[in-house]
């Protein structure tokens, strides 16, 4: 593996992060050499989120998703019904084999020379391949299938993949957050894999480095009051409706900013200190919707009579999976790098599979007006995330450091999530954990240096 930055002969990457001062060099966000190294050493190795099985219910259904800067075809096979993922690049000359966002396919035929692949990615034919004067024996079809991801995981309906055969299993990659993610993919009555996701992906471009939103919004309680001032002032609160209630029955819970410095995941999580689920409080405009969720919550409470819920972002928070997926109890938002200064932001919003139409509609309309480039709440963020980039890029600006010191030294390990540092909810603990893991990936020669977590691979740098 070429160390791109070191090859240039300047400094070691570790010097870009000052763990004493609690700072990160802006160079990490604006330097194209670092970006290239990230694509190689982070996005080629990590488990990345592709989509949800509810987007491709039938044999032959496919969606085109992304892994880092590259497109992948995610397709449900016609014979074994299994979902697989392939690089969207013809093995012959590299043309995009599929140029549709989604659909149902018997085969994928490249529009260049008709190299044709089935829904398991195998090459089944090529243009003029059978002609007597085309030496058929020089095309060993079995070796020229689409490039398939090294590992694929359907985790309670959510689809993940990695290009690295040496990456640990998805559950090991998540560590203590596996249960948190599993919980977020439950329906509101506590059934595993209980959500379906509204189609299609909501996708928009954001002219900034992927780490600006990808690392900052891991948890960022201090931005809300200022960034989202207009939503507050206009009465468009974060909640889903008017007449939001306060619970009358207290439930012992604690909110923290948490970060796993060895695995890189973290965010704002609620820890629950007893079995059961908190009381449901009304929050929807639309008639009947609260009734549905109140009933569902009661059904869930029965399932959790003697179970403590896994810490997760329920109730206004979210946690994030390294490198760039934010997980709520009802939606997934993630960032695809395009270039050093260009990111594409994707959102999928979920709802209980078994909810009636009026509940699905209420959740869907909330997602439409809240999320993304036209969402009144999230559009606030885009301006700040955008202009961080040009204002950090200049010859003077990039010599400065970003401040990530908030709460440094105050974090503690907590038995409820082994290996994770727990800190005040307004601290930057989760962002620091991101950078601990980021540095480990950028310096590691392979997954051997990254997992399992032990004395030599544990990389809490601050």
């Amino acid at each position: 593996m070429v160390d791109i930055i070191r090859a240039r002969g300047d400094y070691s990457i570790a010097e870009y992060i000052d763990s004493e001062k609690g700072t990160v060099s802006r160079e990490l966000y604006v330097n194209p050499d670092i970006f290239e190294q990230e694509m190689e050493q982070i996005f080629q190795r990590c488990w990345l989120f592709l989509g949800h099985e509810s987007q491709l219910p039938n044999p032959g259904d496919f969606i085109v998703s992304r892994m880092g800067t590259e497109e992948v075809i995610v397709v449900r096979d016609r014979n074994d019904n299994k979902i697989r993922a392939f690089l969207n690049s013809c093995r012959h000359r590299g043309m995009k084999v599929c140029r549709y966002d989604e659909g149902n396919a018997l085969v994928f035929t490249c529009p260049f020379h008709a190299w044709t692949y089935d829904t398991t990615g195998s090459l089944v034919g090529a243009g003029f391949y059978n002609r007597p004067d085309a030496s058929t024996d020089t095309l060993p079809r079995e070796n020229w299938g689409l490039s398939e991801v090294a590992q694929f995981k359907n985790f309670y309906g959510s689809l993940w993949a990695t290009w690295d055969p040496k990456a640990p299993s998805f559950e090991d990659y998540l560590g203590p957050f596996a249960e948190s993610l599993r919980h977020c993919l439950q329906s509101s009555d506590g059934e595993d894999n209980g959500l379906e996701f509204f189609t299609p992906f909501q996708r928009h471009r954001l002219p900034t480095n992927w780490k600006v939103p990808g690392f900052t919004s891991v948890t960022d309680l201090t931005h809300t009051a200022m960034t989202h001032r207009s939503s507050q002032a206009a009465g468009l609160h974060q909640d889903r409706g008017q007449g939001k209630e306060k619970p009358t029955i207290p439930f012992p819970q604690e909110k923290y900013a948490i970060g796993d410095h060895s695995l890189g995941h973290g965010g704002m999580c609620t820890f629950y200190n007893q079995a059961g689920v908190p009381q449901y409080t009304n929050e929807w405009f639309e008639p009947g919707v609260d009734d549905y969720f109140r009933d569902a919550t009661e059904r869930k409470a029965q399932k959790y009579v003697d179970r403590v819920m896994a810490p997760h972002g329920w109730g206004g928070g979210h946690f994030a999976i390294f490198p760039a997926v934010m997980v709520d109890s009802w939606r997934l938002r993630w960032y695809h790098p395009h270039e050093t200064g260009m990111t594409e932001r994707w959102t999928l919003s979920g709802v209980d599979k078994n909810a009636p139409k009026e509940v699905k509609d209420a959740v869907r309309h909330y997602s439409e007006r809240f999320n993304g480039p036209i969402g009144f709440f999230e559009s606030d963020d885009m301006e700040n995330w955008n202009y961080v980039y040009p204002a950090s890029q200049g010859a003077r600006a990039r010599k400065l450091d970003y401040f990530f010191r908030n709460g440094i030294g105050h974090g503690k390990y907590d038995d409820r999530l082994p290996g994770v540092i727990v800190n005040g909810s307004y601290t930057e603990e989760a962002q620091r954990a991101r950078f601990s893991r980021w540095l480990a990936f950028m310096e590691a020669k392979s997954w051997d240096d990254l997992y399992p977590i032990n004395k030599s691979s544990a990389r809490r740098i601050w």
């Binding site: 966002d101 989604e102 960034t227 001032r229 206009a234 468009l236 869907r364 439409e368």
Partner: protein, 180 residues
């Protein structure tokens, strides 16, 4: 050429065309002049304001091209109450992607009357919207609209339904803070 006086229906159609164009141009002007509350007055109370997303689909699979207003995620898919909220937000002066405010120019053209039923008129048009902001932030949105308008004593017409067909797949601008 229509011979005036000889064909009353044609003459009425010409006048209607003129009235509709005037209405649609005025709407665009109000948006560009930041008179957003006056723009809201031109929308019916029960308006469905809808901008679907558009997929890249196989030739002929046109029924899959637009996202469904009934079951899928759309760019805009809302009534007047939500639009009023958006305009309250734009008028706070602290909605950062519009502070400082943008210079918008909405150009409306290709106005075609598709159908007239009593007080209700189906009219199609095209728009070109140019955004210029700060020093060098430039975005454009190009598309067409399928409107259902209703005659109104006060404002001439009210927009009852609007389907906005944007010529875009991934939303390329980082935000959309204007209307079409």
């Amino acid at each position: 050429m229509v011979e005036i006086g000889s064909d009353r229906a044609s003459l009425e159609r010409l006048i209607l065309q003129q009235e509709l164009e005037k209405f649609l141009y005025r709407e665009a002007r109000l948006l560009d002049e930041r008179r957003l509350e006056e723009w809201l007055d031109l929308l019916a109370e029960e308006i469905h304001y809808w901008m679907p997303m558009r997929r890249n689909v196989k030739f002929g699979d046109w029924d899959r091209e637009f996202t469904s207003a009934e079951t899928e995620i759309n760019w805009f898919n809302e009534g007047k109450e939500i639009l009023e909220g958006r305009i309250r937000q734009l008028n706070t002066g602290v909605h950062w992607p519009e502070e400082p405010v943008s210079r918008y120019e909405h150009i409306v053209t290709n106005v075609e009357i598709m159908d007239v039923t009593g007080d209700e008129i189906r009219v199609n048009s095209k728009f070109f919207c140019y955004q210029n902001r700060l020093q060098d932030e430039v975005n454009t949105w190009v598309g067409r609209r399928e409107d259902l308008l209703r005659r109104d004593a006060e404002t001439g017409f009210k927009v009852v339904k609007r389907k906005i067909i944007l010529a875009q797949n991934v939303m390329l601008p980082k935000v959309v803070n204007t209307f079409f």
